[in-house]
Symmetry: C2
Subunit: 231 residues, 2 copies
Amino acid sequence: MEIQGLPGRLLDELGPAIAAGEIPEGAVLRSEDLEERFGVSRTVVREAVRILEGMRMVASRRRVGITVQPKSGWDVFDPLVIRWRLAGADRPAQLRSLGSLRVAVEPAAAALAAVHASDDDRRELSALAVELTVSARAADLATFLRHDIAFHATVLKASGNEMFAHLGDTVGAVLTGRTEYHLMPHQPEPYAIRLHREVADAICSGDAVHAEQAMRTIVTGALEELNQQLG
Amino acid sequence: MEIQGLPGRLLDELGPAIAAGEIPEGAVLRSEDLEERFGVSRTVVREAVRILEGMRMVASRRRVGITVQPKSGWDVFDPLVIRWRLAGADRPAQLRSLGSLRVAVEPAAAALAAVHASDDDRRELSALAVELTVSARAADLATFLRHDIAFHATVLKASGNEMFAHLGDTVGAVLTGRTEYHLMPHQPEPYAIRLHREVADAICSGDAVHAEQAMRTIVTGALEELNQQLG
DNA sequence: CACAGTCCAAAAGTATGACGATTTGGTTTC
DNA sequence: GAAACCAAATCGTCATACTTTTGGACTGTG
């Protein structure tokens, strides 16, 4: 997942700093400064900058330097950008954006999954729904989170749409971020758990309408809760 | 939009070739070969490869080389990846994926736009709906396409959700690709045009339910038509 | 024959010096 | 005051040398 080597280390410094606004839009960096500041060679700086450029977070111009681009141009779907924004000052906005995206995508994915899921997918969903119930009842938030992430990722994958499938990690990041955010709220609501079972059952029995509906209830509920938390 | 310089040129060669499967999954490239083949220096090859690595299309390992990663890992939301796939053998699959994504996202965006759109957004939507009607009636497919793209991009932007907004270009690519694909079908259907006006009107009057519904009709219609075309 | 440990060479990773290209901003000139 | 010009700054590219990792061959042993 990570970019490796020295350029990766540079990215881990620059990316979050830019995402958090510590290095603000319009700021100009110079390669040579970066070389000194991080004690690496031009090669390394250039490659790291190239990657940031690929994410449209910076642009490099002769005689000018490396300028931080406006947020509106960033590749907001890039997993690294999402992670960096979730880690910094943009966290609330990022969670809101992702919440809306979930509301749009996950019900559709559930409906598709009811039609396209493989037998393995269906089995896994059933199993996860059960484990979800167990860990919720045991108030074991850590494993609950793990299963919750797996559940949603599996639905997205089972939809058969590669683009939906790729949102699995992103949704995972949201759930993790959310859990950290309201600092482990107590026990997951029994109603939400029941809805997850409903989704699993509906997908297993090929009931697209019901799967979509139940999933929509889950994600809109999550979004409302989020908006409440964030004020 | 483009990556510039020699690395950009390299990308324009390698990216499409990988996306089209000409360089298949698992294939191994060596930096030195690429240097010779394209007549560029190490620096340039490395930076281009770094960018591809950022898109998760290749992975570079010591003593092994640069290996093409399985498609399932690619950053399928990266605009360049989308463009490359649309240009090559993956075009049908890519259009289908994007079609489903549109069905999920655009109705939600329309609903949000009805609530959050600025006055400017609403004005622009009205204007675009009119121009859409005009160019459709004149059977001017080129300008129709332009306005259609602008219309959908504006709705996405007006939703106030940055992630939705960023799908504007992507949707534009779909519409362009679709138009090229069935080779300019004849005249756009009057019913679809009317739906666009309905979306605009609903957003202008703040009617989220109606906006969502009309938009859903548009995109599901487009998806069905697409599936019909692709068999 | 099977297995484990050792060693080597191949390839990417990093560093560095030199030069080229381009943009900017000031300076000169008319 | 405006236009043309020049010079400095900075990225872009190249060539080269050195470092690090690691896959696989080789070797020896049980």
